[in-house]
């Protein structure tokens, strides 16, 4: 079963403009939580990242040795996340934050053409919703 689509009001408008057949069958939920990011908040999140994946660490080393943007671009093109642990992925999404995800989600939603595209989006929306809940909860 596909995950629900947690859409903000603005995203719902974009979804409603998609072709009707593409809209069919999706469970829609309204994303009412919000988070305003700041440079200070991003710095704080980045400072908390703990990675263990050897591939990511190796990539970091390669990037450190890269001498040109072209080298970095080719390294990025070789990225393979298949073996990255779920824990490390969670770390990265936390560091990226809900605001950055929103900026990624909007164009992806606008360009969605298949159920597969929306299924990919559902994953990002699930992660964003959990992040928003995490920042909204009081400790």
């Amino acid at each position: 079963m596909a995950a629900p689509l947690w859409l903000t009001a603005a995203e719902r408008t974009i979804f409603d403009a998609l072709p009707a057949p593409l809209q069919d069958g999706w469970e829609l939920k309204e994303e009412t939580l919000a988070f305003t990011d700041t440079a200070e908040r991003r710095t704080a999140r980045l400072s908390l990242v703990r990675l263990h994946d050897q591939k990511l660490l190796a990539l970091r080393d390669k990037v450190q040795k890269a001498t040109s943007p072209e080298d970095v671009a080719s390294l990025l093109a070789e990225i393979d996340l298949r073996d990255v642990t779920e824990g490390d992925l969670a770390e990265l999404f936390f560091a990226l934050g809900p605001d950055a995800l929103t900026r990624l989600i909007t164009p992806l939603l606008r360009e969605a053409k298949t159920d597969g595209d929306l299924d990919d989006l559902a994953s990002l929306l699930t992660i964003r919703h959990s992040l928003l809940e995490s920042f909204s909860s009081q400790a």
């Binding site: 995950a3 990011d37 700041t38 440079a39 200070e40 908040r41 991003r42 710095t43 704080a44 980045l46 400072s47 908390l48 990242v49 703990r50 990675l51 263990h52 990511l56 660490l57 990539l59 970091r60 990037v63 450190q64 943007p69 072209e70 970095v72 671009a73 990025l76 990225i79 393979d80 996340l81 779920e86 824990g87 992925l89 969670a90 990265l92 936390f94 560091a95 990226l96 934050g97 605001d99 950055a100 900026r103 990624l104 909007t106 164009p107 992806l108 299924d119 990919d120 559902a122 994953s123 990002l124 699930t126 992660i127 959990s130 992040l131 809940e133 995490s134 920042f135 909860s137 400790a139």
Partner: protein, 208 residues
């Protein structure tokens, strides 16, 4: 000064050292109340710092302890005590949020949902190179040498990578999302309690 540190000029001196005209004034990196920085200054374990950051009382205790070392911190950082309480609060907020997010992703109720999400994300590199690139760049954000593209050369990098140029359209300014990380120089004379300070690791605490 750390690679990620942003230059800051004092307009009143026009970059000149008022005590030694003709010689540029030293620009210190800003102090950021990250767990790593607090751990270095206060010689506490990072875990202990993070635990303290989560509570109001813990943050007050950290603030008081940091202020005891104000003079030493100021020797290596642009340290603004008036910003410190807010910084501690923001970092504490992030510590709590991360704990809740990680717990949520592993909770029995959502574990299946998240497993499916992670599997999708792992297949993103081909289909969604932008999302993938941003995740990897996030992983690299603390690496010193990565600063060359995190700060000034995004446009050039994106123009060389097929598809990645869209990042600029989607994100406007990627450096807004991935800020440069300040360096954390060790305090002069070693640790605050005369124990030699460790080698600073700017940004992410990536095990090496």
């Amino acid at each position: 000064m750390g690679f990620f540190s942003r230059s800051k000029k004092d307009p009143s001196t026009n970059g000149q050292n008022p005590e030694q005209p003709g010689k540029k004034a030293e620009i210190l990196p800003p102090f950021r109340a990250t767990p790593e920085a607090l751990s270095q200054v206060l010689e506490m374990k990072t875990d202990e710092v993070e635990a303290q950051l989560k509570s109001v009382e813990g943050r007050k205790d950290l603030f008081d302890k940091l202020m005891e070392h104000e003079d030493k911190i100021k020797q290596v950082h642009d340290f603004k005590p008036e910003d410190l309480r807010r910084q501690l609060e923001v970092t504490g907020e992030a510590v709590g949020a991360k704990e809740r997010f990680m717990a949520d992703a592993q909770s029995p109720e959502k574990k299946g949902l998240f497993r499916r999400a992670w599997e999708k994300v792992k297949a993103f590199p081909r289909k969604h190179p932008i999302v993938t690139a941003l995740l990897v760049i996030t992983a690299l954000a603390g690496a010193t040498a990565a600063g060359f593209y995190l700060t000034g050369n995004w446009e050039l990098l994106m123009s060389k990578a097929a598809g990645l140029r869209k990042v600029l359209q989607a994100l406007k300014a990627p450096e807004e999302l991935i800020p440069p990380m300040p360096n954390t120089p060790p305090l002069p004379g070693g640790g605050v309690f005369e124990i030699p300070g460790g080698t600073p690791t700017p940004g992410l605490d990536i095990p090496t």
